[in-house]
Symmetry: C2
């Protein structure tokens, strides 16, 4: 049976590219039938990656059958995976996030998690010299994933390994990193086609502080004004989205990639208090700028206080 390789729901570039990379490796190097899949529409940056490197868009699936062989990449969180994931035949997990607990496997399997910025960097290490046999599209996907997850090396999650791998790939592919990253980030910043609710859910993770459950949303963009122009309707939509998703509050951080700062929308006193306690800022209006903040994993989640 063909193994399905997929990342998390709301696929970003890493969760779209890494399944393509690993399915290539399983098929062409390991001789095991495998197919990349997506758990939803890829975001605009991921779509740009597919287009730029002439990669087929993986099939979007909305569940996995019991005993379906799967490889999970870029997450180990059951909440970000199909409901029946523990009944699937999980063959391997390749990830760079903290261990959440909740995934179970029927027998011993291959699990590799490292504190890198990007799943694709770990795959580069795991594939080793066999990567020489990969088509440009696979290497291009790898480079795209790393530039996306590191915000072109600006994110504090970036490691020396992520950087070295990206530069090696760019050299081999003849890619000018700043020019290519600019195109990727422009694609990510084009959010005109998305509804307010879609924007609030696009890149978000649930996170609890004490008894308060947040949906912590991050929009990485080179054009923060485009998003902030919609702040009133975004804030009006937070209540309904929170209710529908069973959380207390949506927090939307608009991350300005180029200026390395985040703007948090402040729709009410709860968020005002969270902003002041978590980031030591004074909030007056309905937005507050957080200088230097670009990473949910390293800078937002660890700081959150209610």
């Amino acid at each position: 049976m063909t193994t399905l390789v997929f990342g998390h729901k709301s696929p970003d570039t890493d969760s779209t590219g890494s399944p393509i990379i690993w399915a290539w490796y399983l098929n062409e190097i390991k001789g095991e039938a495998a197919k990349p899949a997506l758990l939803g529409e890829p975001n605009t940056e991921a779509a740009f990656m597919l287009e730029h490197w002439s990669l087929d868009k993986p099939e979007i699936i909305d569940g996995v059958a019991a005993d379906q062989p799967v490889v999970i990449v870029d997450t180990n969180n059951p909440a970000e995976l199909p409901a029946g994931i523990n009944d699937a035949d999980i063959r391997a997990i390749i990830d760079h996030h903290k261990l959440v607990g909740g995934l179970e496997t029927k027998g011993p399997i291959d699990i590799r998690i490292e504190p890198l910025a990007c799943t694709a960097t770990l795959m580069y290490k795991m594939i080793g010299s066999e990567l020489g046999r990969a088509p440009d599209g696979v290497k291009g996907a790898m480079l795209s994933c790393i530039l996306s997850d590191t915000l072109e090396f600006r994110s504090p999650t970036t490691t020396d390994e992520d950087k070295a791998v990206a530069h090696a790939l760019a050299d081999e592919l003849g890619v000018d990193i700043p020019a290519f990253a600019e195109k990727m980030f422009a694609a990510k910043s084009d959010v005109s086609a998305f509804s307010d609710a879609a924007l609030l859910r696009m890149d978000s993770k649930e996170y609890g502080v004490g008894d308060t459950k947040f949906r912590v949303s991050v929009l990485e963009t080179t054009s923060p004004g485009t998003v902030l122009d919609r702040k009133e309707s975004l804030m009006d939509t937070m209540g309904p989205v929170a209710t529908e998703d069973g959380v207390d509050q949506v927090l939307l951080f608009v991350v300005d990639i180029l200026n390395e700062e985040a703007t948090l929308l402040v729709p009410n006193d709860l968020v005002k208090s969270v902003a002041e306690k978590s980031f030591g800022v004074d909030v007056s209006g309905d937005t507050v700028v957080l200088p230097g903040v670009v990473s949910r994993k390293k800078q937002i989640i660890p700081a959150l206080k209610v």
Copy 2:
């Protein structure tokens, strides 16, 4: 702060040797202060390994402080670890068991799990050429762990990698594998110093089938008669041990390493029924021989039916 490296409770050879190997690697190769530890008295085979290779017995600890840096080896099961493990600063997990779910980490960490017979085999791969700098004791611990976990390559958990690593180490150390394994297994078989309750708990894992909770105990020995001579008092002790440990029934499999078979003690109708349904045997007396059965992971747990 010095990192503590430890395996599971009721330490066997792999859970005693692997912490020694990895603490050496962290100290001498990675330049990070580390110390092996044990979560209980090592079993008699593990004690033989320490003696044979002139290794210091690691300190026995009965808990870990919050924020204590730790590396967990040879398990990922919180039930086999100190109660406060999720409050420790878990730096890495190196294991060869199925993912149980339940361990959580505060941030992304190094996790490496592979379906090998032995943690030490995985460490051999991870350490790579730096192992050349290890003292004989570290290499000897590695070899001992592999021979123990594979029952000298008899267990169906044995992979080609486990075998190749063991042979490479034996060649380098000038160890005659059959002669050395015989000594190890003789040490493991010397259970005269242990009470019946201690024997029932020595190498056991809890496992539920439907609503029935078992303590599945395995005693690997080259001298099954020594254990079976005590079968009456062992069976008398199963009730109190089960009650004290909060399970419904203790199952004791006496594994004859050399003849590659297990003898299951049958104290009551529940175990008789389990034996017949799980292994397709007819049970008449208070024991039943299961030809070819040596591995709890591969042959006992997957077969269990109530």
